[in-house]
Amino acid sequence: MDFTPRRVIALVREGFYRDALSCQTIWLCASCYACAVHCPRGIRITDLMYTLKREAIRRKVHPKGLPTPVLAQEFYRMVQRRGRNSEFWLVLRMALKSDPWALVRLARSGWRLLRAGRLSMRTEQIRQADQLRTMFAAAREGR
C-alpha cells in the first residue's frame, strides 16, 4: 500500500488526480465494506474506491504489472461474452497477462483443488448470452 486511504481521499480533494488514480492502494481494497459500516459520517469509502478504480482503468493509469486490474478486466470481458465466469480460465488468463511466474505457485494450489474435485475446466456459458449482450447495448444507449 503506497498511500493510506485517508491520503488517497486527500489527494482527490486537492486535485492530484493522477497521483490518486495511479496508486496501488485502491487495488488493495477487497470490498469488505468494513470501513463503510464503521464510518460515523456514513461515507461509503468502498464505493469511492470503486469510482477511483473505474476512473483509473478508463484513463489507463493503473499501476502496470499489478494483477488486480487485469483480473477485473478479464473478468469483465469473460462475463460480457459468456454471461458466466469460469474460474480456471479466468485465473489462467490473468496470470498470463500480468505475471506468468505466478503460474508456478498457482499450479500447486491447482493440483490440490484438482485432487479434491474442485477444479473445473469446463467453460461456463448461459443459454441466452445474446439476450445479455442486447441488454448491455440497450443500457449504453441510456433509455
Binding site: W27, L28, A30, S31, C32, Y33, A34, A36, V37, H38, R44, Y50, K53, R54, I57, L66, P67, T68, V70, L71, A72, Q73, F75, Y76, V79, Q80, G83, R84, N85, S86, E87, F88, M94, A102, R105, R108, S109, R112, L113, A116, G117, R118, L119, S120, E124, I126, R127, Q128, Q131, L132, T134, M135, F136, A137, A138, A139, R140, E141, G142, R143
Partner: protein
Amino acid sequence: MALRRYLYYPGCSLRGTGVAYDESLRECFRQLGLELVELEDWNCCGATSYMAIDEGAACVLSARVLALAQQQAPGVDLVAPCSACYLVLRKTEDYISRYPEIRSRVEASLRKAGLPVQIGVQVRHPLEVLWEDVGPEAIRKRVQRHWRGGRVACYYGCQAVRPYGEVDRPIRPTRLDELMEAVNVPVVDYSLRTRCCGGSLTGTIHEVGLRLNYILLKEAVRRGAEAIVTMCPLCQFNLDVFQNEMERQTGEPFDLPVLYFTQVLGWCLGAELEKLGLRHLIAGRDLVERWFVKERPVEAYV
C-alpha cells in the same frame, strides 16, 4: 413442517471451487423440508470486478438475475449462498431504487430483453432463511446425531453482514454461533469473525491475501478452535487452500478443517454423508474423517 419453496441462485463459485457448498446446502435444505429450485439460465452477478469497470453494466448484469427470478416465480424468495452474489444483488436493488440514472438504464435493458421491469424479489442468504423461516429452536428439535468433533470458530466473513445485508448485524454477529450451539456444536469466541479474508487478493496480490488468512487462522487456533465454520465460498477457499503454503512460510503447523455451516448442520440433522461434499475439503482431512462418520441416530441408543 410445511414444504417451503425458494428459488436458488448458486453463482459461479458453487459450480467450481465451492462445489461442496452447493452439495451440502441442497442436502441441508432437503433435510429441513425446504425446496430449492435452481433459477434457470442465471448469469454471473459481476462480483467485485464489474463495479470496478462499469457501474451501469454491473447493475444490468445483476438486474437480469433479479428479473429472471421475477419472471420464473413471482413472489418467491431468491436464495444466494455466496456472500458476494448476495451483496451485489442487494446492492443493485438499492441502486435501482436510489439512483434514477441507473434505474432508467436498467429498465431500458430489461425492456429490450422482454424481461419484467418491475422487480420485487427478496434476496436472502441461507443463514437468514434457516434463522428466520425455520428458527434455531425447530432445528434443535431435529438433531439426529451427536457432534463428535472439536470446538469451532464461526467465521461470518464480510459481505453478507455488511451494509446491504440482513443476515445479521454488521458488528459482532451471533446467528451462526447460535445455530451451531442449537445443534450442540461447541463454539469459541472468535473476535475476528467479520474481518476480511481478502477475497480475490490471494489470487492477485498473493502475499497480502496470504497474510490476512494467516491472521484469521492463527487467531482461531489461539482461541482453541479445531476447525473453522464458514458461510461463503471465497472465505472457505482462502482459508482452506493455502494452509500448506503458510506452514512452509512460517514454520507453524496449520491443519484445520474449514467447513461450510451447511456441512456441519447437515451432518447433525442426519444427512447422508456422501451428499455433504466432504471429499472436496483440503485441509484437516484426518479430523474430517474422524468427525464425520456414519453414526446411528441419537434415539437408537438413548
